[in-house]
Structure formats: structure tokens, C-alpha cells
């Protein structure tokens, strides 16, 4: 049987030439499931997200990241993306002068062979579907990538791109942070639209709040650069009421 998981094994990593942040992360997300990754500030959650995507400012010193059996650590960020990984950034950058529509067409075509570029109709339909799932107006597609976007709009754009690019696995890095309740609902609606047997997702969040809208199949808890415990969705509720010190005490971290 073929492997259909994103499998992180004993991952150690540090800031290039600097401080060690990950100290042996073990985590598996099967395709078709949505997992939550929780943990206190500074536990290494966002670092893990960036390392999975291939951020060159970190270096992996030990361990592996297996995308359905293939170790992606030797791949460039763009190769990882084309292999099916997606990171929704916590702080998406602005790229002035580049429209979202234009950018997405390039990103889609980057996944296709030369001469087999996406057709106008197919592209338009994909965009339209994604825009609708997020209760957004089509005019957003002509705006430049995150130029003058509010924090909430940037997060929404990250999910829009996810819906258009249709990755096998997505990491959502605090997609809920900075969102008001309406924006949170709309973004959750977008993520839920992506859910299905072919889509695996790791949601990084501080708050139980998000998990009311996107109900996870499983919850992992990270403390001090390691996943220290995991459990069903109820674990998130427990964390919410008892706090992370409770986990620390439990695992003796």
C-alpha cells in the first residue's frame, strides 16, 4: 500500500548558524485528516511550519520530513510546493505590482508541463469557485498581492490560494490570529471547503476558538521543540481550560 501521510520524524533544526529550536519532532498527518498543532509561544510551531515549506533561514540537523514516502529535505521550496505541500503564512508578504490572478496563473502553470498551461475557462472557474467559498468579491483577484490588504484580508488570501492550488497537504500557520469573528468564520468556511479524502491539513493555533469552526481529527501539543502529547479533539478543550502548564506537568517537560 502506498504511503499517504505527511510524516515528520525526529526532526531537529536550528536557525541557520544559531539557536536550536526543534528538538526531535515526531508528527504524522494522514491525507484526508485535519490535525491541530497547539502549544505555548516559543514552542517551535511556526518554525516547524516554515521548515516544512523549506525556509532557507533554518537548517535541519537531524531527522526527516516524508511526503508520502519521499524525503523533502533535499528539495527547494518550489519543488516541495509542486510535490503537493502548501504553507498558509502567518505574515504573508506584499508583492507590489503583481495581481493575485496573474500570480495564481503562474503558480498553477509552474505545476504543469510546458505547452500544457491552464486554459482560460478552467482557470477562471477555479478562481470563481475559490472566491465564492470565501464570500469574496471577484475584484479581489485584480488587486496586487497583499498590497494594502488588512491583516484579515491577507489571511483570507492565503486560503484563497490554497483553494486554487489544491495541495495534498497544507500547513496553516496561525491563520486565525488577528481575525475578528466574521473573518474567522469565512476563513474556516474556506478551509472546510478544501476538506476531503485527498487533503491533509496541519493547523497551528493558540486558541480553541478556531477548532469550533474547523473541527480537527486529532490534536498535537508542542512544548519546547517537541510534540509532547496528542489526542482526540477533546484534548484542545482540556488545554483551553487547564492551560499548557498542565501539559508540562503531565509530561514532566
Amino acid at each position: 500500500m502506498t504511503d499517504t501521510t505527511l510524516d515528520i520524524r525526529n526532526l531537529h533544526a536550528r536557525i541557520r548558524g544559531g539557536e536550536t529550536i526543534l528538538r526531535g519532532v515526531d508528527l504524522t498527518v494522514p491525507r484526508g485528516e485535519v490535525h491541530a498543532l497547539m502549544g505555548p509561544n516559543g514552542s517551535g510551531k511556526s518554525t516547524l511550519a516554515k521548515i516544512i515549506a523549506g525556509d532557507p533561514s533554518y537548517e535541519v540537523t537531524e531527522g526527516s520530513i516524508l511526503l508520502e514516502g519521499q524525503n523533502v529535505l533535499d528539495l527547494e521550496p518550489d519543488e516541495r510546493a509542486r510535490a503537493g505541500l502548501y504553507l498558509a503564512f502567518q505574515y504573508p508578504v506584499e508583492v507590489p505590482g503583481v495581481s493575485i490572478a496573474n500570480f495564481l496563473r503562474l503558480a498553477l502553470n509552474a505545476r504543469r508541463a510546458e505547452g500544457e498551461e491552464i486554459g482560460v475557462m478552467e482557470f477562471y472557474q477555479k478562481l470563481q469557485k475559490a472566491v465564492e467559498a470565501l464570500d469574496w468579491d471577484e475584484s479581489i483577484l485584480e488587486r496586487n498581492l497583499h498590497e494594502g490588504f488588512s491583516g484579515g484580508e491577507k489571511k483570507r488570501s492565503e486560503i484563497l490560494q490554497l483553494l486554487v492550488l489544491e495541495p495534498k497537504y497544507a500547513i496553516l500557520d496561525e491563520t486565525d490570529s488577528g481575525l475578528d469573528i466574521d473573518a474567522l468564520k469565512v476563513v474556516s468556511q474556506g478551509v472546510n471547503a478544501a476538506r476531503g479524502p485527498d487533503f491533509g491539513c496541519l493547523m497551528i493555533t493558540h486558541y480553541q476558538r478556531l477548532l469550533n469552526y474547523i473541527v480537527p481529527d486529532r490534536v498535537h501539543v508542542m512544548v519546547d521543540g517537541r510534540v509532547v502529547t496528542e489526542g482526540p479533539k477533546e484534548l484542545a478543550m482540556e488545554l483551553d481550560s487547564k492551560g499548557y502548564d498542565w501539559v508540562r506537568d503531565q509530561v514532566g517537560a
Binding site: P56, P77, D78, F89, F103, L106, A110
Partner: protein, 477 residues
């Protein structure tokens, strides 16, 4: 340097002279002439003689030569020490583009490769590279020419303009850029050849851009071209010169003068993109005199050459005159693009706007050199300058020399300059969406240029994009 003519240098040949009596570029060239290297009185006299010019033009040229000799090269700006007049032919062949090569095989492989990858059709490639003449465009050109002629529009190469319209020519020639203006304008005045002569009569609008491309066979993009453009009151037109595909030339020196007169309430646009091969010193004077209620726009792209010095200017001499400069510069390895603008507000309620975008890479350097001058009495004048520089790596350089002189209390002048470096976070972000590193860089650069690029005619914008992609390839490493 390749010896570009196959003529016997002793011949000073004069065969087939009858071909010059009429403007007819269908005829094959059967005679050759080139001057000796270097610049002196004898060369200037010969140029005028072979062109069969009126006496006043010969006198003008000689006076300009004296001015050039007195003035000497400017002591500011980029390093021009590699430019040696004694190695330059100031005049080659009267009826063909200067600096041409005789066969496709003589064009360097890298230039041919660039054409191929830009997707330029071979016929066009040959013209761009200076091989042979562009007979294919003749039909299109003639059709447009008929339409223009019906409206009284004159669109000729400058030499023919002088012959066929001596009165208009003499009235305006050298009134905007006199030889005294600067050293290279003086040199151009002494040895000018080719260029475009445009006159659009009162109230006439020309829908299709007048493109110098149509005049290619008549030296419109020569080494010392002299372009004279007159927009009569209320006229409206767009003149386009050049092309984004590399223009190969064996000449190491290009020095043009472009004079534009935008009379009352006219709207004139001049767009040029130069992509000279990287051995060329490109020193050009572009200036417009803008009268009351008129609007002048320069769109200036500098991609090629070794050194470029070019500061398109608007002299806003009538009330409510408006001047605009949009410019793009790309300084790759070994290139210095010293470009900018001059806006002279000499009348009340004049307005101007400058947007300059430069990109530097490797050992390239781009400089913005700009002047905004508001004369006493230019009540309510407004000017806004925005210059943005993008550095693609740690070795590229950029600098800004803004000069602002305000002698009028009611004027408003804004100046904004930004320098940014290609951002690793942006590159990582775009790569995380599946774009390869060079694609990501090219996309950021295109976005940076977008505010200017979207003002370009579509075909130029497309070419510019392809060119940026080519430039970005191999910048990853």
C-alpha cells in the same frame, strides 16, 4: 571592432548617386562612403557635401563643431574615459543604417540567441541587428502614410524632411536644443544624420502611433540621429522609437538629439526603449518645449548600452503646460544607466510628474539625476517626483542626484525616493507557491516596474517581460 563596410576605403566612392535624388527605399544601395576616423572640419564638410545640404546647414554644422571643440566633454557624471573619438567613424554611407553589418553571420551568437528567445521573427531580427532593409513593412507603411498625408501629417526621415520642407525645418530646427546646450548636443549638431521629422498640423489627431520602425531603411535609428517633432496647436499624437529587442551595432558611440515642440493645447507623447549592445556609449539629449495648455509625455526605457546619459526634459513655457516622464532603467553587469529628467516650470500653473524606476544587478549601477526648477512667477506650479530603485544583489549600486530649485513661493514640489533590495522573504513566499527562484525574482521585478510598464503599448510590455525573464536567468546562484 569589425570593419563594417566592404568598400574600398580609398574610393570615397560615388557611384549610383542618382538614387539619392528621390526618397525611394526600394532601390538597392550601390555605393559606399565612409568618413575617416575621428572628428574634424573636413569630416563635417564632407557629410554636408554628400547630403547636398543647403549652405545654412553646413554653416550650422561647422559652428557646432567649433562649440564642441571649445566646450569639451562634461566633467560630471559617469566614466566616459573609454570613449575615444579618434576610433570612431562619424559618418558611414548615406542611405543605409550606420554601423550595420553585411551578413547575419557577423552578428554575435549571444545577440542572435537573445532574438531567438525573445521570439522575434527572423526578418525583424535582421533589421534590428542592422542587416539589410525592412522591405516587408513597406506595404503597411505606405497605407498609413497615405492616411497621414491626407491629414497633412509629415513623417519623414530628417534628411528628407530638410529637403522637402525646408521652411518648416529651418523655423524649428535647433530651437529647443541649440549646439551651445551641451557637448554631445554640439557633436550631434556637427555630424547629425537621419532621425525622424514629424509635423502634425493644427487640430489633427493621429490614432496609430507614428513608429520610427517604419523608417528603418532611412537611418532613423542612426548613430547621430536628429529628431525634430512639431505638434501644432491642438494636435494629438504618439511617436514611438526603438524596440526592446537588442539593437546590435558595431559603433561604440550613439549620441542623438530629440527636439519636440508641443504648441498650445497639443498632446504629444514620445516613447523610446533602447537596448543597445553593451559596447555602446549612449549619450542623448531629449527635450520638449511645452506651450500653454499643452501636455508632453516622455516614456523612456534604458536597457542596453555600456553607459547611458539621458535626461528627458520639459520646458513648460506656457500657462497650464504639463510635463511627464516615466522611465525604466536596467543596469546589468558592467552597465551604468545615468538617467533622469528635467522639469523647468517657467509659467504659471504648470504641472509636472516624474516616475523613475531603476533596477541594478551585479556590477551594474543606476543613477537618477533630476532637476526640478520653478521660476519666479510660475504661480501655483506643481511638481512631483518619485524615484524607486531596486537592487537585485549586494554588489549592485544605485544613487540619486535630485536638484530642486524653487523661486516661487506658491509652488508645490514633492520628491520621494526609495531604495529596496530584492527581499528574501518575498522570494521564499513565491517559491513556496511553486515558482522557481528565477521566476520568483522576475515576478518581483515585473511587479516593481508595473506602474510604468502598464503605460507601454502592449507589444512593448510583452517584450519587456520576456527580456526581464532573460535577464533573471542565471542570476540565481
Amino acid at each position: 571592432m569589425t570593419d563594417v563596410t566592404k568598400a574600398d576605403p580609398d574610393a570615397d566612392g560615388l557611384q549610383g548617386m542618382e538614387h539619392t535624388k528621390q526618397y525611394d527605399f526600394r532601390l538597392p544601395e550601390t555605393y559606399f562612403y565612409r568618413s575617416e576616423k575621428g572628428l574634424d572640419r573636413r569630416v563635417v564638410e564632407k557629410i554636408s557635401y554628400f547630403k547636398q545640404e543647403p549652405e545654412w546647414m553646413l554653416q550650422f554644422r561647422l559652428r557646432a563643431l567649433e562649440i564642441a571643440e571649445k566646450k569639451g566633454p562634461p566633467k560630471w557624471g559617469p566614466d566616459l574615459s573609454g570613449l575615444r573619438f579618434e576610433n570612431i567613424y562619424f559618418y558611414i554611407r548615406p542611405n543605409e543604417r550606420q554601423g550595420t553589418v553585411d551578413s547575419w553571420d557577423e552578428i554575435p551568437e549571444e545577440v542572435r540567441e537573445t532574438y531567438r528567445r525573445l521570439g522575434v521573427p527572423e526578418a525583424e531580427q535582421r533589421v534590428l541587428a542592422g542587416v539589410g532593409a525592412q522591405y516587408e513593412s513597406e506595404m503597411v507603411y505606405h497605407k498609413l502614410k497615405e492616411e497621414w498625408e491626407k491629414k497633412g501629417v509629415i513623417f519623414l526621415d530628417t534628411d528628407t524632411g530638410l529637403k522637402e520642407h525646408p521652411e518648416v525645418f529651418k523655423e524649428y530646427f535647433s530651437t529647443v536644443v541649440p549646439p551651445e546646450d551641451n557637448y554631445y548636443a554640439a557633436v550631434n549638431s556637427a555630424v547629425w544624420s537621419g532621425g525622424s521629422f514629424v509635423y502634425v498640423p493644427e487640430g489633427v489627431e493621429v490614432g496609430v502611433p507614428l513608429q520610427a520602425y517604419f523608417l528603418l531603411n532611412a537611418q532613423s535609428i542612426g548613430q547621430f540621429e536628429r529628431t525634430l517633432i512639431i505638434g501644432a496647436p491642438g494636435s494629438k499624437f504618439h511617436y514611438i522609437e526603438g524596440c526592446t529587442a537588442p539593437a546590435y551595432t558595431t559603433d561604440a558611440f550613439h549620441s542623438g538629439v530629440i527636439e519636440i515642440i508641443a504648441q498650445d493645447n497639443s498632446q504629444v507623447r514620445y516613447s523610446t526603449i533602447q537596448n543597445w549592445s553593451h559596447n555602446v556609449y549612449n549619450l542623448v539629449t531629449q527635450r520638449a518645449l511645452v506651450h500653454a495648455g499643452a501636455s508632453m509625455g516622455w516614456l523612456d526605457g534604458n536597457l542596453g548600452s555600456k553607459v547611458t546619459m539621458k535626461y528627458p526634459s520639459c520646458y513648460l513655457v506656457g500657462e497650464h503646460a504639463h510635463g511627464e516622464v516615466l522611465s525604466i532603467a536596467f543596469a546589468g553587469d558592467g552597465q551604468h544607466q545615468d538617467a533622469g529628467s528635467k522639469m523647468i516650470h517657467a509659467a504659471p500653473h504648470t504641472t509636472s510628474s516624474v516616475v523613475s524606476k531603476s533596477i541594478s544587478k551585479g556590477s551594474g549601477r543606476s543613477s537618477y539625476r533630476g532637476l526640478v526648477q520653478i521660476h519666479d512667477g510660475a504661480v501655483g506650479a506643481r511638481s512631483n517626483v518619485e524615484c524607486d530603485a531596486l537592487l537585485l544583489d549586494d554588489t549592485a549600486k544605485t544613487d540619486t542626484y535630485p536638484y530642486i530649485e524653487i523661486n516661487e513661493k506658491t509652488a508645490h514640489v514633492g520628491h520621494e525616493a526609495t531604495v529596496s533590495k530584492l527581499d528574501d522573504e518575498q522570494i521564499f513566499y513565491l517559491m513556496s507557491r511553486g515558482l522557481a527562484e528565477d521566476e520568483a525574482m522576475a515576478l518581483i521585478v515585473r511587479g516593481f516596474l508595473d506602474p510604468v510598464a502598464k503605460e507601454l503599448p502592449l507589444e512593448y510590455a510583452v517584450e519587456l517581460n520576456r527580456l526581464i525573464e532573460l535577464e533573471m536567468e542565471g542570476s540565481v546562484g
